[in-house]
Symmetry: C2
Subunit: 348 residues, 2 copies
Amino acid sequence: MNKRKKATIHDIASKLGITASTVSRALNNHPRISDATKKLVNKTAKDINYQPNNIAAALRNGRSRLIGIIVPTANRNFFSSVVRGIEEIANQLNYKVIISQSYENFEQEVQIVDTLLSARVDGIIMSIGKNTEDFEHLERIVEKSIPLVLFDRITDDVEVNQVVIDDYMGAYKTVEHLIESGYKKIAHFTNPRKINIYSERLRGYTDALRDNGIPFDKNLVIESNMQLEDGQKSVLKMLDKHLDFDAIFSSSDYAAMGALQMLKEKNINVPEEVGLAGFGNEPFTSFTTPSLTTVDQVSIPMGNVAAELFFELLKADPKKYVPQKTVLKPELIIRESSMRKVNQPVDK
Amino acid sequence: MNKRKKATIHDIASKLGITASTVSRALNNHPRISDATKKLVNKTAKDINYQPNNIAAALRNGRSRLIGIIVPTANRNFFSSVVRGIEEIANQLNYKVIISQSYENFEQEVQIVDTLLSARVDGIIMSIGKNTEDFEHLERIVEKSIPLVLFDRITDDVEVNQVVIDDYMGAYKTVEHLIESGYKKIAHFTNPRKINIYSERLRGYTDALRDNGIPFDKNLVIESNMQLEDGQKSVLKMLDKHLDFDAIFSSSDYAAMGALQMLKEKNINVPEEVGLAGFGNEPFTSFTTPSLTTVDQVSIPMGNVAAELFFELLKADPKKYVPQKTVLKPELIIRESSMRKVNQPVDK
């Protein structure tokens, strides 16, 4: 299967009776080579199924025109939109992207860094897995002077370009909106792993409560992995414990969705009895009944910025380059699930 | 940025005062090399940040242990689950996958084939874009004896391993279920591009009608790109034309979702007045009110089979290998949106 008899530029050269160097220059559109020769060379290359050895070219000029992207999972609207934002910029510069998924698994994350490097990417743009606490695999990339940009889930332990949204502000605004809608006992769903996004959202939640004179109750902070089922279970837990709550601000749309399902099952009316807000603006949040209030993470612009920082880094002298952190403003999307008071604008 | 001073096996060799060939054999776990030496070599390799040149190794033994996957978009539960199914098998064999997205764009699809080949994947597993009608880029892969497996969206124009579900049967069973639930005027949402999946589902729809003595009405076959908005527009179109329908079988969950939204907006009750069924079992179909009847495409097993066929092909002699087509059975998931008759089992 793997005995690939590859056509080479020498095959083209001997077929046309010209030198390999002429073939090479013709393929690379060298100004000294006539258009007629270029045409002939390109036609012959196609005829004999010649595939330019991009690897060799990459090793020669140091560029493969390939960006490796690592995401926990590509099947989240947020991550796939960031990828799209990266591709928008990359395609303009004739770069392609390849994606690998870490599935929040540390070992897998370390391995796919090597996978992408061995695929000769020019650099990596990534979001860190929830369980990653050791960053040696990132340091290895930086030590090799290979461009690395982190987005959304970042670490301050490695000095690299970073793009995040202001998670603190997104959470603060959401909780403030719930308070303005008349909710007073607001629970918060968060992840026990306090990576930047969750710790910042928790901080926004507590500060918004404090600034509005609402006492913080640690019993109302519910930790879980925040998948759909976790949202269901968290509501059950709060009901079983007879906790007094009239709203939930979930750090994840999935857990908010699960909460909605369980509240409905228990005949608790949303938004009249319990208000609900998620985080992420996953498409399904506009499909539910009631539709879910959530925070949009400006994912396409985040991808654009990540790509721009990547190319800036690619051009820069690594010794002089000072890594940057870009913070984008998230957008609160108010929908039915938090509209206890009437006369509020609805964005479906 | 790209002046990477890479550590080589020669650096390890000179550091330990042994030959490069011993280092190489130690790194490759050769039986002739003592465990003590292997340990020492591996430690030194780590210390000096040596990264094995997988490319060189790949070119030498013809394997990069990397599978390239091309999907229209990774942000569909179906495609991401197939990828996961592929990874389940690949990881067992110490293979990694990299993903590229075609976005249903033919030019992009052709380019990323080259991208993946230049990243030295051992082969490609892919699902074809809706707009792909020329398959030269696939033929090029086959001609090079590089393993290629197609799944879901396939073509019979290229002789390669294929995995599909029985789309005909999935559609037939769904329409039969709608008829059994008392619906008689069943519309069908389909795509004008008659790639295999859509033509097979249309055939299942028409045959199920015929076999149940219901006349086929071509006005009830509505063509669109079948995104969410298309589903909304298709319902509007049917209402504007005063078409007489009491159910919709949509070839896409997204268009079914859009149809549900528009029917609700027009105060048409689902399932009492209009029954609704989608195709794909996207997660949101269980979140809606009412929940959506749909067809599960057994995506994880499809990925498993695609990977198994890939590895079979990788081991085989390409000259003797006869490509196979595997057809998996889809599963009808009956939910609230098609339950006009009571006493039917509900699977939420």
